[in-house]
Structures are given as C-alpha cells and as structure tokens.
Point group: C2
Chain length 374, copies 2
C-alpha cells in the first residue's frame, strides 16, 4: 500500500449543485473509495481517450474494482475532433448501448476535450445524469474541471453548443501530471499564473519563488498551486455561475490568446495555455500603455513566464508570419466593437484585473505591433 499522500478538499458552493474537488498525489489509486459516496446507481461508464487509457485506465479500473465497482469503458480517439457533432452522436450511441438508467454516472478520465464532451453527454443523457471529473492534464485540473462549462464544436466555432452543468465530484491527481509532455505541462501552468495575475498578488509572489517546483512535480508545491487555482476559480464561479459578470475576469489574456489560436488553427503550433500566456502579457502591456498599470508589474509577469519556459512574445514564435491586421480582424469578429472601442480584461497591477469596456482599437493594434517586433 502506498503511503497516503496529503490531500486538499475544497467545495464549489453552488447550492444544491455544490460539489467537492479533491486534490493530491496518487488519488487515482483511491478513486473508487472517493467516488463511492456520491454514486446513486449501479452503473458507471468511464469515458477516456486512447492515450490516457494507456497511462491511467488500469489504475482507475483497479481502484473501482477494490470498491466492488465494475464500470463500462468507452475509449475515444485522442484530440479535439472528438468534440465534433458527429463524434458526439457516436458517443451517445455507445452510452445508450449500455442501456443506462438515470442512476448512471459518467466518469471523465482525461483532459479538457474528454471533460467537455463527457460533461455535455451527462447533461443531455436522459435529461441529465451524474458525472465525475478525473482531470489528467494541468490545464483541466485548474481550469476546465471547475465551473461546469461543457460543450462541443461546430463549423461555426468552438463550444457554441453546450451547457452549464456541474459534476458531482472532481478528483485531481497531481501525480497523473507526471505523464504529460513537458510542453503541455507548461501550457497548463500559464493558467495557474493567471489566477495570481488576475486577483492574488501574494500567490503570484509564491509562484515566482516556487513555480519551478510546481513544474518539476514537487508534491506539496504542485498540490498548493492546483488547490489555490481551483479555489480562486471556484470563488468566482460561485459568485457568477452563468457568466453574467465577474466570471469575465477569468478571460484575462483570452481575447488576445483567442485571436492567436484562431490564426494558428487551434492546433499544436500554439497550445491554448501558450496563447493565454502571451495574451496575458499583452493585456498587461495594454494596461501599461493606457496608463493604468505600472510597467514594473508587466515586467514581472513577462519575466516569470520567460523563466518558467513559456513563450512571452510573438517575435519569431515557431516561424509563424504573424500579421497585426489579421489578428485585429479575429478580435473584432470575436468581440463587439462600438465606436472603435472593444471590451478587454485589463489590470491595474498584479492581482488587480478588471473589465474595461472601452479600449481603443488603436492601442490594441500598437500592443500587437510591439509584440511582433520585441
């Protein structure tokens, strides 16, 4: 028996939809016992992808067997394509082949794609069944497993079809992150930095000291970083479950980032977290340019991402021919522009993000030009 590692448990407070997030190392080996109290029926269905199944499915299966549970399994091909309408239809067919009743529990074992897809399946199967998230990427642990956003993609865009639907429980095994490719781990780390930059200067300071340990997998550091991020997001989501106000702060770095991802086709040229990292630096640069934020704070943000190994600028990035006009066009398509103004998440300093409704397009373009030249 493994030594039992310490765990953090936090509750996302959403009334009757409240749920716990359990965070710690080697939790996959204890997943059966952790989930048993929230299971309402006899049937569970694990949904995962081929890559993750190879790494983690045997451990989960064993942990559930130890509790007398024998889940069904659906193993999808890896990648964003699983979030297409056609693949969603196939998935629902496979789930229905198991003749589930309303007591069934879907278990999402994987990253954001598996989580988004399984959550959407759970929210629409038999008008809503339970699901449990077992996120296996850093990005999923600190971002997509908190907040209840589910979705699939259509030719019109990503996640345009989906629901707000909360899991019954999230089990975040920080040990599972050891199997991630280093670049994917770093990309997830950018979202951790986001929570410091948007609302918690002390946490950002802690990351400046301990960020390397989080990446290296020092157990306590990693758990603290994931727990602090989840807690920050949970607090914001509890205030604004359906994204009508404060929740917009979570989009720090995302307007720029989304334009970069649109330009690179949401592929492996630029991972989501990498785009968000660059986007956050641009948002700080924009804040400095508008006279809202000390240049020193933007510098700290830039330096920390660089030290940790994340790309901080577009200049020379993966040999892509970035063009300011094209990025501006993506942003204008993404966001409403009124009288040459656009809404952004800006910052008055580290830990002091806010929604600004009237950013001049000229300032945005200038920041983009700087980022390409720098």
């Amino acid at each position: 028996m493994n030594k039992r590692e310490p765990t953090d448990t936090l509750t996302v407070g959403l009334g009757e939809r409240s749920y716990d997030i359990v965070i710690g190392k080697n939790l996959l080996q204890r997943a059966g016992g952790l989930m048993a109290p929230v299971l309402r029926g006899q049937k569970q269905i694990i949904i995962t992808d081929e890559n993750i199944a190879g790494h983690h499915l045997p451990a989960l299966r064993a942990a559930m067997a130890a509790e007398g549970l024998s889940p069904e399994e659906i193993i999808l091909p890896p990648g964003e394509h699983s979030k297409s309408f056609a693949e969603f239809e196939k998935l629902m067919g496979k789930i229905l082949d198991f003749t589930p009743d309303r007591g069934v529990c879907l278990i999402a074992l994987g990253g954001g794609v598996i989580g988004d897809l399984t959550g959407f399946a759970a929210s629409t199967l038999l008008r809503g069944v339970d699901f449990i998230q077992i996120p296996t990427t850093l990005l999923a642990q600190v971002d997509s497993s908190v907040g209840g956003k589910t979705g699939i993609n259509t030719p019109h865009g990503k996640n345009l079809i989906g629901t707000f639907y909360q899991p019954r429980m999230v089990i975040a095994d920080t040990g599972a992150l050891d199997t991630l490719p280093p670049r994917e781990l770093l990309a997830g780390y950018a979202e951790i930095v986001k929570y410091g930059l948007l609302g918690d200067a002390e946490f950002f300071g802690w990351l400046e000291e301990n960020g390397r340990d989080v990446i290296r997998g020092v157990s306590d550091a990693r758990r603290h970083a994931v727990a602090t991020s989840c807690r920050a997001k949970a607090e914001i989501v509890a205030r604004d479950e359906r994204e009508s106000g404060d929740r917009a702060l979570l989009n720090l770095g995302h307007t720029f980032g989304h334009a970069l991802e649109t330009e690179t086709g949401f592929g492996s040229d630029l991972l989501h977290g990498e785009a968000v990292g660059i986007g956050m630096i641009m948002a700080f640069d924009l804040s400095v340019r508008m006279g809202l934020c000390p240049a020193e704070d933007a510098g700290r943000a830039r330096n920390h991402l660089a030290e940790i190994g994340l790309p901080g600028s577009l200049h020379g990035l993966r040999g892509i021919d970035w063009q300011s006009e094209r990025l501006m066009a993506h942003m204008e398509q993404d966001k409403k522009v009124r009288d040459g103004k656009i809404t952004f998440i800006l910052a008055r300093g580290i830990g002091k993000a806010f929604v600004c409704g009237d950013v001049a397009l000229d300032d945005v373009a200038a920041v983009l030009d700087d980022a390409m030249a720098a």
Copy 2:
C-alpha cells in the same frame, strides 16, 4: 381591433426558473406585447414547421412587428423526423448562421415536436438561452408546454437525449386549435381527461358535462379545460421538477399506451393521445381487477372517452392484429420487471391515482386480453 377575449394566467412556481402560462383565445394576435417584458436581447428566432407556418406565422409576425420586433424565422419540415440527431444538427447550424448572442430568444411555434426540439436547442445553444413556447396543438398546450422536458430521438428510442429546461413564458392561444384536424384535437383531449382521472374528480365531472364544448371550441369551456390541465401539471411539476417522485402520476395510461405506440411504430395508426386514452382505461380496468377501484369508476372513464369519440378498446381498432404477448414484451422492455411484478400508475377511483410498485404481470396480460376481446 378584435374584442379582447378573457385570459387566464398561471405561474409555474420553480424559483428562479418560474414562468407564466397565458391562456386564451386569439392570443397569437397579442403575442408581441405579451412576450416583450421577458425579452432580454435584440434578436428573436421563430422556429416552426411548414404546416404551422401556413396557419399561424403571419399572425405572430404581425403581432411582433407591432411591438417593433423583427424576428428571424426557421421553418422545418413537419413531423417527428425533425427530432433526429441529424436534423437537430442542421437546426443548430441555421440558428448559428444568425450569429446569436446570449440575449437571443428562441420562439417555438408549433406542437410537441417543435416544442421539444426548440427547447433542446435553447438549452444547449451558447450554454443556454431563453425560449418561449407558443403551443398550437391541444396536446402541446396541456402537456408538453408545461414541465420543461425537451428532447430529441435516436435509434435507441425517443427523447433519450434531452434536458429539463424551462421556457420564459408559454402563450397558449386556444383559438389556434381551430385549425387542428379533428382527430388530433380529440387525441389532445385525452390528456385533459387524464388530469381529471388522476387527481381531480370534480374536473372529470365538469368534463362529463362540458367535454363536447371543449372539443367544439366554445371559448370559455376550452380555456377552462386548458387552464385546469396546465394548473394540475404545473402543481405536480413544481413538487417534482426532475421527475423523481410524484411526477410519475402524469404517466397514468402511459405504460399501456407506450406499448401500443411501440407496436404501431409511433405513426398515424395510433396517435399518442389515442394510445393514452386506451391506456388509461386499461389502467382503470387493471385497478378494478386488482380489487382497488370500483367498477363504476372505470365505467365512467370508458363511457366519457367513447361519448367524446375516442377509441376505448383495442378490439377491431384500425384493423391491427394486436397480440397480447408482443404488447407484454414491449412493456417488459420499457419497465423493470422484478419477480414477475411491474410498476404501474393505478387508481382507487376517479381522481385517485397512485404509483403501485408490485403489479403482477398475469393481471396485466389478462387486462390486455380483455381489451382485445371487448
């Protein structure tokens, strides 16, 4: 300007998801003013089918124009096929072509198919947008427009994919029912009778006196019947939004009825309401056979449906070769059977339905045999 007909307004009490049902004649002509207070954005999209569009779309369009509203329109082919996965995907594409934001309101103008489909679209578009129901069939007015059930069909069965999602408002124009084929009107009437039989003996007595007027379209009678039915359903749904208890009573007649519909392929050989009508009589016969219900009450139920012109028995019905064994098999596939027992909604008399968990399959089979011979 038409004389303003009297209306009934009732509130479905579901906390922050509460909404009003407005019932009366010629409400379609006033729909713009009625809906204006609940609209949150600039864009509305009417979803309807070719048949209904011909009858009612010009009136709705004019009523909305009178309020300065110029809705988009999506007109689907008529029929249950629109609830397939493929048609749902097409519908979502058409909606997304209009570049809706979260303030959009979908307006379901039609019967159950349009309502189920539009409700599901609203619940999954951009993680949930508003929708308004304008039911144009009697069945939709008294059944599917109350309760928030949405759904689409798959090869595995009907409505296995869907959500519980409440409209912002229901506008039930009893005048719109004048365009219904008589057989469809009668089928909807069976669901009205259901509310009397399951929980309101006084209402059933009123129907015995006034049922013909409801069918004929006498304005006050029709409004009273629809309002009483909606109120009855709303009370049950408010107690049990997600169908974990009392809401099962609404399935009076539906276990038998569903078996009959499965046998006839859910087509025009037997309409849903017709199947429910026969199913309710069988449920009363079963209750009598089990010594739970006076034979006189079952007789009243049977006589009322016969007087109104609904089929009351399988004997000779549309020349179908009904077979008891096949119908039993459908029910056993539909419901859990334990130790030769099955769950049914039974009645201790008119207005006294209850859930019975241990009905003997032998008694069920005997009732079926009687219904074929009678």
